[in-house]
């Protein structure tokens, strides 16, 4: 036991992937809803 966390790269990748998916997905959803509303079709 060294007191130092060994490895953990998979957790780092998971955190960045989740962040990209959530922020990217939500941004895409807002842009799509805004465009739909501007065209006059009811937003889903």
């Amino acid at each position: 036991m060294t007191g130092v966390i060994q490895g953990g790269t998979e957790f780092v990748i998971a955190a960045y992937v989740v962040t990209a998916l959530v922020l990217g997905g939500y941004t895409a959803s807002v842009v799509a809803r805004f465009r739909r509303a501007r065209r006059g079709t009811p937003p889903r």
């Binding site: 966390i5 957790f11 780092v12 955190a15 962040t19 809803r33 805004f34």
Partner: protein, 227 residues
Amino acid sequence: MAPPPSSAGKAPFFLALGVALLLWGSYWGLFLAPGERFMGEVQRIMYVHVPTAWNSMLVLTVSFVAALGFLFTNRWGYDHVLEASLEVGLVLGALLCVQGSIWAKPTWGVWWDWDPRLTSTAVLVFSVGGILALRAFVDDPVKRAVWSSVCTIVAYVDVPIVYFSVRWWNSLHQMQSTPQTVSSAFHWPLRINAFGVLFLWIGLVMLRARLAALRLQEETSVPEPVR
């Protein structure tokens, strides 16, 4: 003079700036910044987790101000910003909990702990979700705006509790980091990502508020007679 609700205004600029800064800061944090002495590689999660935490509190502060603004002035612009900032706050708050959970597993050995910081954050996320659910159920725009403003002010009491929970109680979660407690090698990716998330949510709130304005316009417009 404010642009019409159908115009995206400056939102695309803020969205693009936010994405560019996040890509730059994340590249720096993942590949250029050194690993931390005790946490090693896992500490790189800090570059997305801490900016998300700061900005989720900030965007909910915008909700609080918008709620007060609507109750004092009855101007619909505040209600649109309230709806937008609550939704963005919910997304950032939920993301914060997931990132924290991913960081907790290799450092604490558990995905979740009912520690004061984590519990108060979860309460905040569920409160914001509840307010948005309330907005979805109430048809009358005036009642919807007043009720959700009052609920937002009540829910906002939890924000300082989240912030100070690590000082007030024994917490598994570490204390707030300051420039004095974080090595200067970690400052830049942290700051760049913090501004990245900041500009991203500013763009999102602007666009989402316009969407709320368009929906209200549609809700309150008088139907045309059938010819």
